[in-house]
Symmetry: C2
Subunit: 307 residues, 2 copies
């Protein structure tokens, strides 16, 4: 059997700010992403291929804060983070603070498969991208008028925003995917365009194996979205895996315990998606909503934004 | 009661490469570090103060690959990583890829206490250091003839080295400390000068909460040293904590399981130091040795390099 789940970030616009057109656009891109990953899995390709394909579609959309849709940093740049992991050998790759990269998730995979390293960062990582002919895009590709205005507004107030929504809202701009393939292997991938008006080279949980992303055939594959600092301190993705491996919890129970109890106890909000070796899917969040979609070979389907 | 343990890296020189003078110098600096931390703890100060003080002494020594003793990157710079965490509120701070910072561990603490962030990286982090008047040193301060020669040798062969020892050896250049204070709080700190001839902004486990460093009053405080990529994939520091919390293992059993079974099963080598709320200390490694020292208020003392 196969299973796929994707997310486009937790938090979400409140219902009264979401127009029917906007909602339709989000749902349609989520559907495109999960459709593509399903096709990859049906063809017998790897979970790794499926999560990369799903995340690339979300990165290529201007709607989500990742890849093309990345927000502006304090200095008007787009700094992106991504990570990917597979569950059979527990190999992983990640990039932090890269810019101009069309698909950071594919660069993370290149780090995993083409180097002895797990995490490359900043200007050093950019040198790797150039050496490896990783696909780049111009500044115009990443330009978006709405995001630009929000950056200007944030500059004036001196605030940092996790995404492109108004300051008084919480929306965590991350995309991700988890999959089980027909060969019984798990994989997870997560990508983000960071925080609006981000300063000081802040790195959240997205590129961190164990916090934002984790995969292990013995337990589960997890991709997180939320207030990154809390996910780092909670080592959230690996926490789900440990609750399953060491305490015998099911995927759903482990996800609920981590998101509704452990993360909340330190003040964090957000959500995660997970899949286990039996193809079970969990999409758990403690926010107003989470852009999400899922499908498996047993006929399970989900496409939703709000609770 | 109080407990303190420190490490100066796993791997170590083989016995026939270690002169009595060199061995004495290492032991003397380890003793100075553990003495200082003991004094801090006896005065009733926090575990956080103790691990910071211990690591600062190791960072200020040219013998260990952290702070002053940091190795040269590919471009002849010194790029350092550090992280710190306390167990009561599970607050954490970390820096990755910073240069010219005299004591990266104190900068990590400033990130923890002075920002809403956990991890700052690269040039953005340098801007934070300047804004915050973090103590800096000139390039000459970090210059060391032996390290320079090793960098030149590595440049010629195109290899990366984890430390200042010959290429055919394994020595993991990291320093760290874990402590339990009289108030019953735990803390952990880890700092490194990276890999000789390091390229591409490679980040290891040292600045990653959950992998290189973790502290939680419910379980333990852990600082790791070893082949960083394997520690990242194994989420090693948090794995020890989870084995204690979810499976009920003792600190020593958890450390042994992680270092001798789980880390080895993915091909990783290195070690870690840990302390729990009862003041128990574990110093566990699967390498030839680990520079280490420990002390507690019950009279336990240790100062050693080899097994």
């Amino acid at each position: 059997m196969y299973s796929i789940a994707i997310h486009g970030g937790a938090g979400t616009l409140t219902r009264n700010q979401m127009s029917p057109e906007k909602e339709q656009a989000y749902l349609s891109t989520l559907k495109e992403s999960v459709d593509k990953a399903t096709l990859v899995l049906k063809e017998g390709k790897s979970a790794l291929d499926a999560v990369e394909a799903a995340v690339r579609i979300l990165e290529d959309s201007p709607l989500f804060n990742a890849g093309k849709g990345s927000v502006f940093t304090h200095t008007g740049k787009h700094e992106m983070d991504a990570s990917i992991m597979e569950g059979q050998y527990k190999m992983a790759g990640a990039v932090a603070g890269v810019h101009g990269i069309k698909n950071p998730i594919s660069m993370a995979r290149r780090v995993m498969e083409g180097t002895e390293h797990v995490l490359l960062s900043g200007e050093g990582a950019m040198q790797f991208a150039i050496d490896q002919n990783i696909a780049m895009e111009s500044e115009e590709y990443f330009y978006d008028e709405l995001r630009y205005k929000q950056w200007q507004a944030a500059l004036k107030t001196g605030s940092m925003q996790l995404d492109h929504t108004p300051l008084d809202e919480k929306k965590f701009g991350t995309v991700g995917a988890v999959a089980l393939d027909l060969h019984g292997n798990l994989a997870a991938a997560t990508s983000t365009g960071g925080m609006t008006n981000k300063q000081f080279g802040r790195v959240g949980d997205t590129p961190i194996i164990g916090s934002g992303t984790y995969a292990n055939n013995a337990t589960c594959a997890i991709s997180c979205t939320g207030s990154g600092e809390f996910f780092l301190r909670g080592v959230v993705a690996y926490d789900v895996s440990c609750l399953m491996e060491y305490k015998g919890l099911s995927l759903q129970s482990a996800c609920e315990k981590v998101i509704h109890e452990r993360l909340l106890s330190i003040g964090g909000d957000g959500g995660l998606i997970g899949v286990d070796l039996q193809g079970n899917i969990s999409m758990t969040f403690n926010t107003e909503g989470m852009y999400r979609a899922a499908r498996n070979s047993q006929g399970f389907e989900s496409l939703a934004i709000y609770k």
